[in-house]
Symmetry: C2
Subunit: 278 residues, 2 copies
């Protein structure tokens, strides 16, 4: 399949042997990469973490769109056949634009998470927690209203969750106290399903369950988005057929060593080579 | 005075009518700007907040140096006669390089804060709290050892303080609990003087005093750096002589409206025009 790339009009060839390109503002998207490795164990994957400009969740729509376009342009240099926008802030603001401007499949984390939540809720009350940028975009609320009628959505921005995860404070009294503060309205609304609308948040599952109780189902979109990627690759006849081991490549715009050190927390194993870009 | 600008070798003319250029990774440097307005009430000031790439404190030395050079290059377009590096992470890693590469006076926040702390300590035990980047640089420790012998320095990175300030949680149980965790070693060391090595931290003075008690003196370098700027301008014969009202200009690389909204917390008054750059 030969296609032309957005405004730059370079020719791009999508081959089954090409990699899945994943990008995130930093480390959080590695939860998505981990799910992709499980669901699509033969696929090559190139991961890009924009660690020089992390976080995206406190930045403007315009900045997020600009950064996202630059990330896709960079991934295209590494022979990718599909793009996964693992960053919720980016998927909320830039997905439509990336799909319009780049002629290869671009999949975001929002849609798959929403479909799962809508299928699971019984009392039709869904909560969404995410960064300020994602909440401001109203992307989750809009997608939920599109996909099912009569669902009540309660949204809450949780700006301290990302720094708490990056500091490694996954549990303990401070994190619990921050979670209690942020989740007050979500609890009051009586939701039975909560979308974790930021790829960092799955690392806070224990404390979130402590605060909300076991009856509230937590939706981690990493799993859902991986299944969607599998479906799209199959439909486009782009699934890798090779039987050799797949390769995993890691690109970051800053602090490769820091990334390497923290990646284990997300992936569960050590990575050995991280390349610096930009 | 005619000088050439670093590697770009453009000619720069330093005139008394020119402005003081201040840069920071975001909003925090406004505490320095406020002090400059008080100490040098007739000077024009141009403030640059690199809000698209904030925070610097979690980034690498190389990234911080690159961002800092770009900020000075941008300020030079706005007729400045002196540069104030209001960001501690930037002053720790990039000050020497900026002073070498740009031919106008460049003043950082580290030196003046250190001189004040050294002059105030009685038991020769000084604490330093700052971002991870500033602590990693060892800039405060080195400067203290240079300026006085036999002083024991206890340093602590406090990565959650900046997000707490940006979230507006200046006080309250969560912030107190975070402060107690971070300040444990500082307390154990028995310091009588604590350098607030990040321009955001003066907004946490109340909670820091609650945790440490009134006997520990808190050093906010904004005041100290302003006096240094005054001295340097006088020595270089660059003090503004005009009697007309000074002008204040604000440049940011992202979210001008957010900056405008939050600036009041730092400056104590509303600003009306913020320009977007980059």
């Amino acid at each position: 399949m030969n296609v032309k790339v957005g405004q730059s009009m370079k020719s791009v060839s999508l081959k089954t042997e090409n990699a899945i390109g994943v990008f995130d503002s930093g480390l959080g998207g590695l939860t998505v990469m981990k799910a992709l490795m499980r669901v699509l164990p033969t696929e090559h994957i190139v991961y890009l973490g924009d660690t020089a400009r992390v976080p995206y969740g406190t930045k403007s729509k315009e900045a997020i769109i600009r950064f996202s376009k630059e990330n896709v342009t960079e991934l295209l240099k590494h022979n990718v056949k599909i793009i996964v926008v693992a960053c919720n802030s980016s998927a909320s603001h830039a997905l439509d634009i990336l799909q319009k401007e780049f002629p290869l499949p671009v999949i975001g984390v929002i849609g798959p998470g929403v479909r799962k939540a809508v299928s699971l809720t019984k009392n039709k009350k869904i909560g969404v927690i995410a960064t300020q940028a994602t909440i401001n975009s109203s992307a989750y609320n809009d997608k939920i209203q599109e996909s099912a009628a009569g669902i009540r959505v309660t949204s809450q921005a949780c700006p301290l969750f990302v720094p708490l995860v990056e500091e490694g404070w996954f549990n303990g009294p401070v994190t619990k106290s921050v979670a209690e503060t942020y989740l007050k309205n979500i609890q009051k609304a009586g939701v039975d399903t909560l979308i974790l609308g930021c790829t960092h948040y799955p690392l806070l599952k224990t404390v979130l369950t402590k605060v909300l109780g076991r009856t509230v189902k937590l939706i981690d979109s990493a799993q859902e988005v991986s299944r969607e990627v599998k479906r799209v690759l199959e439909e486009a006849n782009l699934t890798r057929r090779g039987k050799s081991q797949p390769s995993y490549k890691f690109l970051v715009s800053d602090q490769p060593q820091h990334f390497q050190r923290l990646a284990k927390r997300f992936l569960g194993y050590n990575i050995h080579h991280v390349e610096r870009i930009y």
